[in-house]
């Protein structure tokens, strides 16, 4: 049974300001959730808290393994993966970058190599396996970062604006890889994006975050095309400032 994820009263306070304010939400297992909202609405913070990178000020992140609660520790962290907005590759070859998560999990060398090459093929980067990760373009780096995440076969995948400022070719390849993962139905994906076309194309659900709270949530097409809340509508039409 795959892992499921929910937030209970999740609050994060930075410098006296609540970036996330008592957020309660259960993400649907195996679905793609696009998290949208203006800048500063708490999207990236939400991802960092849910992925256990940062601790909440208050509230909890709950994991269920089937129906059983799973402790929020390293074993759960190893069932998730994260792709950051900025390039986050290590100063080594592309192949070793993608093997990193597998090496951490103690997988044998030969197996690591095969899995990493397969992950690189999914983002059309296998020909650059021997290049240093730091010499790649922004789009190439992000594709390798996605391959590194895919290689560990995460049950929950966090994508923090993975296609921001990228060339259309890389956006297409990343979109395709996420689509394939979604169709597999085994990975819960949380995708923070400002790209509404991408959100509509990839997401099953859309969560609209505003001032640290979920204002609206629902089926992707419904939220994007027929938002119920006035703030969602104003955000989608570009009238709501962050």
């Amino acid at each position: 049974m795959t892992l499921s994820l929910s937030a209970a009263g999740l609050t994060k306070i930075y410098d006296g300001r609540a970036v996330l304010d008592g957020l309660d939400f259960a993400f649907q297992r195996g679905k793609v959730h696009a998290v949208i909202g203006p800048n500063g609405s708490g999207k990236s913070t939400l991802l960092r808290l849910l992925s256990l990178l940062d601790p909440p000020t208050r509230g909890t992140v709950l994991f269920l393994d089937g129906e059983e609660p799973a402790p929020a520790d390293i074993s759960v962290r190893r069932r998730m993966a994260f792709v950051f907005q900025r390039p986050s590759l290590f100063n080594t070859t592309v192949l070793k970058n993608v093997e990193a998560g597998l090496a951490i999990r103690g997988r044998p060398k030969r197996e690591r190599n095969d899995v990493a090459l397969d992950a690189l093929r999914r983002v059309e980067m296998e020909k650059m396996a021997d290049r240093n990760g730091r010499t790649l373009s922004g789009g190439e780096s992000q594709r390798v970062a996605l391959a590194r995440a895919l290689a560990v076969e995460p049950e929950i995948l966090f994508l923090d604006e993975p296609t921001a400022n990228l060339d259309p070719h890389s956006v297409r390849i990343i979109g395709k890889a996420i689509e394939k993962l979604r169709d597999g139905g085994r990975t819960t994906i949380l995708l923070v994006t400002h790209n509404m076309f991408l959100a509509q194309r990839l997401a099953d659900r859309v969560v609209f975050l505003f001032e640290g709270r979920i204002v609206e949530e629902g089926e992707a097409a419904a939220v994007i095309e027929r938002p119920r809340d006035e703030r969602t509508w104003r955000f989608l039409t570009g009238e709501l400032a962050g």
């Binding site: 998730m80 950051f84 290590f90 999990r105 966090f158």
Partner: protein, 233 residues
């Protein structure tokens, strides 16, 4: 000017004639500084890494102290090592004063803060997003520490090379604790100082050329390492 030119010519002649005194001094210098930098790296890299990776009370003060010690005056180090190793000092029974071992100790003390402080700076400056990526991949605390150190490997290598540069160019401390004994503790820097005071410039210049050449090699290595470490994104 003419004397300087003829001294320079004779210096090159000395170098090319493989003069045993000259090469004995060069070999001892490389040995002393080499051993000192190995000791400074063995102590300084873990110390710098620990300061960068482990949070403990007084950490900031320790970093400030280390940074201050980067500018340790060699004569002060020489004096302290002298007092410790002198017959009436706490380690006088070892009989190490005026020996190459005493010179290694003095140079290690001088190179250690440089290696440790630069290792600390190198590890501390690893991009936070790379550290996040390591954690997000499910690394344990010790795995994450290892990976961050690997990520900073070029900065650490640069720290060790800088430590070698400091040790090899040093004169005051080794003069005080080594005694500049011919054929035993005379190294390039102390020989240059002595020969210059004697007015014998050929040997001094020949050694100066070798020191300059070594300095060039060290700097080229440093540049190459730093360039590799700072590969553009």
């Amino acid at each position: 000017m003419q004397e300087m030119t003829s001294s320079l010519v004779r210096a090159f002649e000395l170098l090319l004639s493989l003069d045993p005194v000259l090469y004995g001094i060069i070999f001892l210098s490389l040995q002393v500084s080499g051993l000192a930098v190995i000791a400074a790296a063995a102590l300084g890299v873990p110390a710098g890494a620990g300061l960068a990776l482990v949070r403990f009370p007084g950490r900031e003060a320790a970093v400030s102290l280390l940074n201050t010690f980067m500018g340790l005056p060699p004569v002060v180090v020489g004096l302290v090592v002298y007092l410790i190793l002198s017959r009436s000092g706490p380690m006088g029974f070892l009989g190490l004063l005026y020996s190459p071992t005493a010179m290694v100790a003095a140079q290690t003390i001088l190179a250690f803060p440089i290696v440790a402080a630069l290792t600390h700076a190198g590890i501390a400056s690893v991009d936070p997003i790379v550290k996040d990526a390591i954690r997000s991949l499910g690394a344990t605390t010790s795995q994450a520490a290892r990976l961050v150190v690997i990520e900073a490997r070029y900065a650490i290598l640069a720290a060790v090379i800088a430590g070698y540069g400091r040790a090899a160019a040093e004169v005051g401390a080794v003069l005080m604790v080594g005694g500049n004994v011919e054929g035993y503790t005379r190294v390039m820097t102390t020989a240059i100082a002595l020969e210059t005071s004697r007015g014998d410039f050929e040997l001094a210049l020949a050694l100066g050329i070798v020191l300059l050449f070594l300095s060039l090699v060290v700097n080229l290595a440093l540049r190459a390492v730093q360039k590799r470490g700072a590969l553009v994104r």
